[in-house]
Symmetry: none
Amino acid sequence: MTPLPKDEAKHRRIIQAAIQVFAEEGVSNGKIANIAKAAGIGKGTIYEYFRSKTEIFLAVFEYYFNKLLKGYEQLIREDLDPTRKIEKILDYTFDSLDEQLSNGSSPDWLIFLEIFLQGYRNEILGDGELLFSDTLRKMYTLFEPLLEEGITAGVFKSLETEHAIFILFAALDGIGLHYFINRNHYQKELLKTTIKEIILHGLLKTDSRKV
Amino acid sequence: MTPLPKDEAKHRRIIQAAIQVFAEEGVSNGKIANIAKAAGIGKGTIYEYFRSKTEIFLAVFEYYFNKLLKGYEQLIREDLDPTRKIEKILDYTFDSLDEQLSNGSSPDWLIFLEIFLQGYRNEILGDGELLFSDTLRKMYTLFEPLLEEGITAGVFKSLETEHAIFILFAALDGIGLHYFINRNHYQKELLKTTIKEIILHGLLKTDSRKV
Amino acid sequence: MTPLPKDEAKHRRIIQAAIQVFAEEGVSNGKIANIAKAAGIGKGTIYEYFRSKTEIFLAVFEYYFNKLLKGYEQLIREDLDPTRKIEKILDYTFDSLDEQLSNGSSPDWLIFLEIFLQGYRNEILGDGELLFSDTLRKMYTLFEPLLEEGITAGVFKSLETEHAIFILFAALDGIGLHYFINRNHYQKELLKTTIKEIILHGLLKTDSRKV
Amino acid sequence: MTPLPKDEAKHRRIIQAAIQVFAEEGVSNGKIANIAKAAGIGKGTIYEYFRSKTEIFLAVFEYYFNKLLKGYEQLIREDLDPTRKIEKILDYTFDSLDEQLSNGSSPDWLIFLEIFLQGYRNEILGDGELLFSDTLRKMYTLFEPLLEEGITAGVFKSLETEHAIFILFAALDGIGLHYFINRNHYQKELLKTTIKEIILHGLLKTDSRKV
DNA sequence: AATGAATGAGCTTTCATTCAT
DNA sequence: TATGAATGAAAGCTCATTCAT
């Protein structure tokens, strides 16, 4: 009850086709027939590789998740001081969004979100495994060492890491999403600088608490 | 192409019913028949008030948007110093999320997001009016005076307001969404304090730039 | 979870259409679309009256069962001596088969059998309620009083009624089925006489056991 | 349009596999893929031995028919008086049914019937050769000598053999089928005795016609 | 104005059959 | 000769929408 995939390349092609179709038609609106057409295969062939539409959802979700994870993991492993790393993570997020958009303009982020929402609702409603919120938390934890490193080094404030990292990731996600939606109305570089400024140095001009 | 509604109360009841159904079944999965049932009216009657399911989407979206807008507008109009206002906005966001969840736990935020995604996709693809991204920007602008006030008063740094406010709102949205999804894994009060700390005073322990 | 049927007449019309289609195409081969067409309604309408194809099976089965039951019940209630009743039951079986065949020649008996087989298999395999074999036994019991009456009256041998009646009914069923299949190769009247002869007086010329 | 089979053993293995699959899934529901799996060969190989699923049906039918025929033929050829032969035929029918059921409980009789029904319907509807009802009559004739022998010997009444044998076989078939379905509710030995009693000596206590 | 029975386009999924290897 | 990946016709079922009452 797992070994369906035969031709690994075709398996990937179907996922790519699904992404394309979901991007154009929406996730719960995306038709299997169109995925097949986009993949250049017969409708029935889809079912040689995936047991159901839901299984395609999950595969697409996993694909994105791993892509995201890999990108961030690499950054976090780099030998840089924590402040610089945060800056790079921010830059990376914006840049990879832009890249996605130029590469055919398929709004990947939305697909991810849409699958997530659908899966998450099922999760709440009792069906489905606790996949989605767990997955998300796996993402947060990825960033924890970064924060801990900075705190240990005495560069960052000694915030409660678990909650602080949640905030940073969630904020980044929100900013990414909104940037994506409004990409034509804001200047990327200015956004990047401003975010760094606020996150690193805060909104207040003078820190009234300093001794 | 506008004057359908006759009985204003019934019109509202349908929207409420739609929210309830969308919350339980998802937006593109929510059935008109169930909306009618939840509203206590006949299936056909829905079509006396809305021309199509899409029109219901939009009405629900508008309803949420106005609710959000009203909540934030009120806060922004209050006679408080800008720093305190930002704190109240944060508190309000978390508290109203919690309230939504306790009131029957129907995940309103998700509905908003789901409708948004769907509408936004159509926007990109050329159908549909430029409603969604414009709407969003209307939201941002709401916060602008708050920032300007703080800058003028010399309390906030003199950031480029348009971009700064975009960031603050987007971050808040992301944090709200993730909090919603993970509400059982984090402590609300600790989150609130940490967010304020980071946004207001920044992540760095000592501001190397201070004179 | 029962009150689907609205228009009783249409409900019956669908069952009739199903019988017709099952007769022509077979039970598991009979298409919903064709049932709809035969009933002169839309495909979707079927599902306003039946939740699934299986539910149509069962309704058709029930229809036949009740028809059979009613026919035999009436005969058994008649005020005749037991021997004569057995003869009438036999006559009735043959005559109603012939009537079915002349009325458009749709082989109802086969449909009954086919549904039975399908349902019975599911029964064996664990799905499905113990409907079919129970139903069948309800049929047998119907004939029990007839036998008991004859025994009490000293006309029939004192056989173990439960088993004897099983045999008589099963034999009748078999004979009915085979007659149906071979109706053009045998003479009805001769069959009827011969059956009565064998069942009532036995195959042996001289009953060697007689005292 | 006949010479497909190459490897006789594999041909038989496919038939056996088909029986197994039909027994579990039903005839029109039985999947070629599963037959192949059960036969331990590739799906495509089936088509080297059979042109279509229908051809498999027919082969299975033929297989059963020959098995039945052989069993009864053997009994009829035995050197016993006609009365005893009838008794043995009855015993044999019950015993081989029981044996089938204990041998993995696959309901072979049902498969035979199901294929028969399907084939017979096509026969009626004009497709298909006149295979099924002819086949059945071949079965009846098998028993004719038995009856003739008894009549000639003066043991049996001088009934019209063709019709009488039809009745005896049809009754036996019905009894077999019903016994199969209700095998847990009746006592085999009691059934056997009662059947013999009724068939041989008739239902009536005193034969009023005897001189 | 309100209804819900009727509808059919359209969806996912299945599976007998083909055919390149 | 044997295979199983590929296929698409076809089937059951859903549901937004219509419209007679």
